[in-house]
């Protein structure tokens, strides 16, 4: 029990960006129980949480507007990272990933997929299409530190001595996520 509490304290201190602002997570899950648990887990670790019960709702929050007459402002809620369940009706986590990565206004927001099922093809497909990681449900404390690591800093920071450095060398000038090569099943640390 003590070890768990220590780990929680460590994570509370770390769930902020370089400016000390809490990292803002958009947590997407159609299951009410899971939204409540993940929301609490993130809040306790000092993340800021906005929840959505569907991919469609998540896109609305991100500023995708059906009203094409009025120009919607993308990501005015300043979401730093999207954490989405895979299995959702109508629009699943993969569909949401593709929608986000297909829109130049929001494609730089990291997307992490969570699922209760281990499906290697599903995992490969998500990682190959720009997902930062694919985590198993139920989410644990150790997963939260990974979320922190996927949030991009506001100014580019050279990364040394990690797998990410190799990846960066292959990225063209524009730094678009979808051209970054992915090895299935490898989460960049």
């Amino acid at each position: 029990m003590e070890e768990e509490e220590e780990q929680q304290k460590h994570e509370q201190a770390s769930a902020c960006d370089s400016n000390g602002t809490p990292i803002h997570v958009l947590a997407v899950d159609d299951c009410f129980v899971d939204r409540k648990i993940v929301g609490k887990l993130l809040e306790k670790a000092s993340f800021k949480v906005t929840s959505a019960d569907s991919g469609k709702k998540a896109l609305e929050i991100l500023g995708f507007s059906q009203d094409k007459v009025e120009k919607s402002s993308y990501n005015d809620q300043k979401i730093d990272i999207i954490l989405t369940d895979y299995c959702m009706p109508e629009m699943n986590g993969y569909d949401l990933l593709m929608a986000v990565k297909g829109n130049s206004n929001v494609k730089s927001i990291p997307v992490v997929i969570i699922s209760s099922e281990y499906d290697p093809q599903r995992i490969s497909r998500c990682l190959a299409n720009g997902a930062e990681d694919f985590l198993r449900k139920p989410l644990q404390h150790k997963d939260l530190q990974k979320l922190r690591s996927y949030v991009k800093p506001s100014a580019p920071v050279p990364k040394t001595g990690t797998k990410r450095k190799v990846m960066l060398e292959l990225i063209p000038e524009s730094g678009t996520a979808e051209t970054r090569p992915r090895i299935a099943g490898v989460a960049v640390a």
């Binding site: 129980v33 306790k44 209760s116």
Partner: protein
């Protein structure tokens, strides 16, 4: 019953729920998430689980009662129930759902009906256990004590 006795009863009862496989470590995770800012967190989550599960069990009963069973729909409901039971640590319900899904894949109506009975049985058992546990906790708190989480190392 005095507070100390109630606390000892709570510890023994909680331990038995883990030993008998009704609950797993995920339930402990929920208990650890509860704090002064949200002292009813476990009760709230468990209540949501009860509502969600009973709705799903009704949907499953209806779906399996059809002339022509839509196994994809049945599987989708079982998948949801498996997910939420896993999230709160209701291990035996989760395991019953895993078995159920394999029969959905085989499109075996008779086996699915048996699985549904099994899932219902496990669900009502764990519901009863959790309600007892929550009542014990409320009695401890009402008597001015606190729930001795630290006694649960095993």
């Amino acid at each position: 019953m005095e507070v100390g006795q109630m606390q000892r009863t709570w510890v023994e009862y909680t331990k038995s729920l883990f030993m008998e496989g009704f609950l797993d470590g995920q339930f402990t995770q929920l208990q650890l998430l509860q704090d002064e800012s949200n002292p009813d967190f476990v009760v709230e989550v468990v209540s949501l689980f009860f509502e969600d599960s009973e709705r799903l069990l009704n949907d499953l009963t209806r779906a399996l009662d059809q002339q022509s069973v839509d196994f994809k729909r049945v599987d989708a409901h079982v998948h949801q129930l498996k997910g939420s039971s896993s999230s709160i640590g209701a291990q035996r319900v989760k395991n019953a759902c895993i078995a159920f899904r394999s029969f959905c894949e085989q499109q075996n109506s008779e086996a699915c009906l048996k699985c549904l009975q099994q899932v219902k049985q496990e669900y009502y058992l764990v519901k009863n256990k959790l309600e007892t546990l929550i009542r014990l906790e409320q009695q401890i708190v009402a008597a001015g004590g606190s729930v001795p989480m630290e006694e649960l190392s095993f």
